[in-house]
């Protein structure tokens, strides 16, 4: 134990070894919210979807919005971590673990949302018994199932050396868990080799899977004939939006844990600068896609399409739409372009704006199209009920709770990768840099 305290990476072990009263307060508070959501959901199970604000024209609401939103956030993780690993960005080391945990947790929450939305959740297994391959919903089940499997494995495999470290160096009540999960990893050359190969294969495999998941989610909308949805741009648009909101969430999580666990030494200013750059790039990408999408609609001036567009521009959804533009474009671009504003509080502010903006994007994509049916049907406005708000709050609370519990059991920053960076990364980076640079060719004459 004492030698562990002398370890330079002791701050990474500390949250696991030392108990903090604030942790229990947070768990208690979050549990109350989750309990509330649970009670509301049980009520929905008893009464049916009567307790929501949905109606026959706007038959998809908060549950589907949050489904798309949460699955979007889950993109941060695995995709960013895989791309950073693949491009051998050395600054990735303290970030990848957090990113992967976001994916795994949010995917559970997001993946369960369609079940909340079902009128008959008791029949959900019909999807497997009588599945119709033609339905985009079935593509979703397949893609999310695959992504969840891939991303949890991708979270777990690079964690094995850390679990082995915890098994050998700590003596907590969870030693049995560490012993079980480390699968006899001793850090021999052969084990290291297999581990690195596995990580390489996984990170290559996980990128196309991640891209496919959000593309398929956009297909739920774009495969229908609804105006405002039936658009070929939706696949890449949703993927961009997903990575955008995911990056923002990752930044918020990084800033939160930096403060909470005093990790200033690990998550330095430079990490936020780099991640902020990524956020800025995706903000511009998002704006470009949004602009193309609406310009095409407005220029074509098709009456049905215009009904939906005007509903967003000047109609009842104008406040949400323009807030979205401010949150997703104005705030991140202004904050992240000026060095003076690009501080950690500034980035935190921009990230929160992006998360809110991306949620509003999902809202303004889904509701206005449904609220403007092709035939002039008498319809009522959609006002989300208390149950839907409760389950929304519950979803966020589950995210925070699972994250805190994870951070209590496992190191939130990869210890072995930091160590590897210190011991091997420096030399490797130098070697790599040498290989990029043009060789100095000494001509024969000079040599002689």
């Amino acid at each position: 134990m004492n030698d562990l305290r002398k370890d330079p990476d002791y701050p990474l072990y500390r949250p696991i070894l030392e108990s903090d009263r604030r942790f229990y307060w947070a768990v208690g508070f979050l549990s109350v919210i989750i309990l509330w959501a649970l009670v509301m959901y049980i009520r929905q199970l008893i009464y049916g979807l009567e307790v929501t604000g949905l109606n026959n024209t706007v038959s998809w609401g908060f549950y589907i919005i949050n489904f798309v939103f949460f699955i979007g956030i889950s993109h941060a993780g695995t995709l960013i971590s895989a791309i950073l690993r693949l491009s051998q960005a050395e600054w990735r080391r303290p970030i990848t673990r957090m990113a992967e945990v976001i994916t795994a947790i949010v995917l559970i929450i997001g993946g369960l949302h369609p079940i909340l939305d079902l009128g008959r959740p008791d029949r959900v297994l019909n999807v497997f018994l009588y599945g119709r391959l033609q339905s985009p919903l079935l593509w979703d089940v397949t893609a999310i199932g695959l992504y969840f499997t891939a991303s949890t494995v991708y979270l777990y495999v690079p964690m094995i050396p850390d679990i082995a470290l915890l098994r050998d160096r700590t003596n907590t009540k969870l030693k049995w868990l560490y012993t079980f999960l480390s699968w006899g990893y001793q850090g021999t050359e052969r084990q290291k080799h297999i581990l690195n190969r596995a990580i390489t294969i996984l990170m290559v495999a996980v990128i196309p899977i991640a891209v496919s998941v959000h593309t398929v989610i956009s297909y739920i909308f774009s495969m229908t004939l609804q105006s405002g949805w039936h658009s070929t741009i939706f696949g890449p648009y949703f993927v961009t939006g997903a990575i955008f909101s995911g990056t923002a969430t990752l930044l918020v999580v990084m800033i939160a844990f930096r403060k909470l666990f005093h990790l200033e030494n690990y998550l330095k200013e430079i990490h936020f600068q780099y991640m902020g750059m990524l956020l800025l790039v995706f903000s511009l990408f998002w704006t470009y896609f949004t602009f193309s999408e609406f310009l095409t609609g407005v220029y074509g001036n098709e009456p049905q399409e215009m009904d939906v567009i005007l509903y967003k521009f000047t109609g009842p959804y104008a406040p949400y739409f323009w807030t979205m533009v401010v949150c997703n474009f104005l705030i991140p671009v202004v904050v992240l372009s000026f060095k003076k504003l690009k501080t950690i509080p500034g980035i935190l502010f921009a990230s929160f704006a992006v998360i809110i903006g991306m949620w509003l994007e999902r809202l303004t994509i889904i509701i206005p199209s449904l609220a403007n049916p092709r035939l002039p049907i008498i319809s009522a406005p959609y006002i989300p009920s208390m149950t839907e708000w409760a389950l929304f709050a519950g979803g966020i609370a589950v995210f925070c709770l699972l994250f805190l519990i994870f951070a209590k059991i496992f190191p939130i920053i990869s210890i072995w990768e930091i160590k590897e960076g210190r011991e091997e990364g420096l030399d490797e980076a130098k070697e790599r840099l040498d290989s990029y640079l043009p060789d100095i060719i000494v001509s024969e004459e000079e040599a002689t």
Binding site: T52, N56, T57, R120, Y130, R132, Q134, L225, L375, I377
Partner: protein, 228 residues
């Protein structure tokens, strides 16, 4: 193979609503109550859409009764993840209430808003209970339903025709809405059979179909309203 379809003459329709009500009686469509109806959860299978043109007092009103169009190329069936809605052997779009998981994807996909969802447990008052049609299932909470062109009547008509060893005649199979229309605005029959009056009506120069350009091939035709 018969191709069952409907022609609705908008010149004749007065918007009286008798098709809506006869449909409710025939198909055990639950009455959701005032509060739910105001929240947009009314469950009419046959719905009258009213279009207003001009300003009062020079106003022109068109009533468009809208059943399910039983499209030949239905956008709703292909999105169903469990085959709970499908194009059946009679060319009608069927609903399997016992299999439906209530995801409402078909409602979202239907460009004609023809589908409704059971947001609550259907509640029939005691007096109403005795008038329920025994040929039609009562739907449960949490499933999607829609107009079936009174498919149960086709099943009975087919049985009768087989028993009497003859072909199906036009008058054997008529849905409740067509039967109850006081102005005969709704004509029903086999769109491919030249003995049936719908075949001639659909070729009228007033005939059109709603949102035809979507390629859904609806089997319900309308005859344009003309000023007289």
């Amino acid at each position: 193979m018969a191709k069952w379809g409907m022609v609705i003459d908008l010149n004749k329709c007065t918007g009286c609503g008798s098709c809506v009500n006869s449909c409710r009686m025939e198909n055990n469509v639950p009455n959701v109550g005032d509060k739910a109806a105001q929240a947009g959860r009314a469950m009419d299978w046959m719905q009258i859409i009213t279009e207003y043109e001009g300003e009062y007092p020079n106003i022109r009103i068109t009533h468009i009764p809208r059943p399910c169009f039983q499209c030949d190329n239905p956008p709703c069936t292909k999105v169903c993840p469990v085959y709970a809605t499908f194009l059946n052997e009679d060319g009608l779009v069927g609903q399997v209430y016992n299999r439906c998981i209530g995801c409402r994807f078909c409602m979202v996909a239907c460009p004609y808003s023809a589908k409704t969802f059971n947001y609550s447990k259907p509640d029939f008052p005691e007096a109403y209970e005795k008038t329920l049609n025994p040929d039609v299932t009562r739907r449960m909470n949490g499933v999607v339903e829609k107009c079936s062109f009174c498919h149960h009547r086709l099943a009975i008509a087919k049985d009768v025709a087989r028993f009497e060893e003859r072909d199906l005649r036009e008058e054997d199979y008529q849905p409740a809405c067509a039967e109850s229309c006081p102005t005969n605005a709704i004509t029903f029959g086999d769109l491919d059979n030249s003995d049936h009056s719908v075949t001639h009506l659909k070729h009228s120069n007033r005939a059109f179909r709603l949102e035809e350009e979507l390629g859904t091939e609806p089997k319900v035709y309308y005859l344009r309203k003309e000023d007289r």
